[in-house]
């Protein structure tokens, strides 16, 4: 999805502003949004890619006008409404209505199980998948893909020439997963680009940028 979240290489957003002694959360509702998103994903399973995809679907003007946890809240709400576990009417009234019998959900995660799961993590690595098409040192060109669905290939790299500097092994493919096409496990490579390849002759000749790209993002070059 070529929308405003894919902002690498844009001008015009102004200086980076750091807050001294920044708290983890800036308001109690931010705490609750973070925790709700994490906890409810056990009972109504969704992945980071579902959440990212829902955030990316927020129209650009609202995306830019929203704070980070406002984006999470909107995306989480959209996911839960899409799964029919919450309705706009309930959110407006604040009153829960009975859950339809045909909706599959799990029970609430307990505090201990939640913390154990977070400590274990949710590895993207898979035991097997599509054979690797590339090897260390190979020259590759990022494909010029412009799907209307979720993708982890940023626009600024499309069509650009890089080199494989690491093979991270086989992982679930976020692009496929985000559009509901299953995990399609495949190799993920660290692909190094010169800054001049990405940004033209005005860029530093010395500097590089590395992206982690899936096998399906790449063509031999």
């Amino acid at each position: 999805m070529n929308t405003i979240h894919d902002m690498g290489g844009m001008h015009g957003f102004g200086p980076v502003e750091r807050e001294a002694n920044e708290p983890v959360f800036h308001a109690d509702w931010e705490r609750r949004v973070f925790a709700l998103t994490t906890a409810v994903s056990f009972a109504v399973p969704f992945t980071d890619d579902n959440l990212r995809s829902a955030i990316e679907s927020i129209p650009p003007a609202r995306y830019l006008a929203s704070t980070y946890y406002e984006l999470w809240l909107e995306a989480l709400t959209k996911i839960l409404i899409g799964r029919r576990v919450v309705s706009e009417r309930e959110l407006a009234s604040g009153r829960a209505e009975p859950l339809s019998k045909d909706i599959e959900v799990l029970g609430p995660v307990t505090p201990a199980d939640a913390l154990a799961a977070l400590d274990a993590g949710f590895p993207a690595r898979r035991a097997s998948g599509k054979p690797a098409r590339f090897r260390l040192g190979d020259a590759v060109r990022a494909r010029n893909l412009n799907p209307a669905t979720h993708t982890r290939l940023p626009r600024y790299a499309r069509g650009r020439l890089g080199h494989i500097v690491a093979d991270h092994g086989v992982m679930s493919f976020n692009d496929a997963n985000g559009r509901g096409d299953g995990e399609q496990p495949q190799h993920v490579y660290a692909v190094r680009f010169t800054m001049r390849e990405l940004w033209g002759p005005e860029a530093s000749a010395r500097d590089h940028l590395t992206l982690d790209l899936w096998d399906d993002h790449l063509d031999p070059a």
Partner: protein, 200 residues
């Protein structure tokens, strides 16, 4: 839902977003989809247990223990787990070593990917449009604005965390710290140094 709960949705001074979050939480709790105690436990974990002090301990250990540093650079996930850290948003860790010749800096242009187990949740600036948009195209300019002027002879390597690998920068150990304990060294390491927007 009790009358008290209903009133409390209209308590003066609550913003729309606060009301909406309260409504969502109470609905999910009432439906048996979340346990409020789990919410509290999650918040407490990320406010008090998981944060950049974890990463700082990893860095300090690497500074004092060459064998640990070698493990950290070859299998960061395992070496970080040795210190007791790991899990969500740190399942596949990569540590990037700054040297006299190379400076590393980490970003997530597409969203907010960040190594939670060692750095905690990301600060607002890391998730902000100015940082995400600019550091991939003009890293030296962004670092200069943030107070880090790099020599022209230093190679800058930007790492855009677009997949499920998570990056931690291993800053150079400051000169004059030879006598310091590991704890004292850890106290020198900043979050921003481990993202790559500060020297240490």
């Amino acid at each position: 839902m009790s009358g008290d709960d209903h009133d409390h949705h209209h308590r003066a001074g609550w913003s729309d977003v606060e009301l909406r979050v309260r409504a969502l939480e109470s609905i999910l709790v009432e439906k048996g989809l979340v346990d409020p105690a789990a919410l509290d436990a999650i918040v407490e974990t990320y406010e008090t247990k998981i944060g950049p002090r974890n990463g700082a301990r990893v860095i300090a250990r690497a500074w004092v223990d060459p064998a640990y540093k070698a493990r950290l650079l070859s299998d960061a996930t395992a070496a970080i787990r040795e210190q007791g850290y790991g899990g969500s948003q740190g399942e596949q860790m990569i540590v990037l070593e700054n040297t006299g010749a190379v400076h590393n800096v980490v970003v997530c242009t597409l969203c907010s990917c960040y190594p939670w187990p060692v750095l905690g949740l990301p600060p607002v600036w890391y998730k902000s449009a100015p940082y995400r948009s600019r550091v991939v195209m003009d890293p030296r300019g962004v670092l200069r604005e943030l107070g880090l002027e790099l020599a022209e002879s230093t190679e800058v390597r930007v790492w855009d965390s677009n997949a499920e690998l998570r990056y931690l920068v291993l800053p150079r150990r400051p000169t004059g710290t030879e006598g310091l304990s590991e704890d004292r060294l850890a106290a020198l390491v900043t979050r921003d140094g481990m993202i790559g927007v500060a020297a240490v």
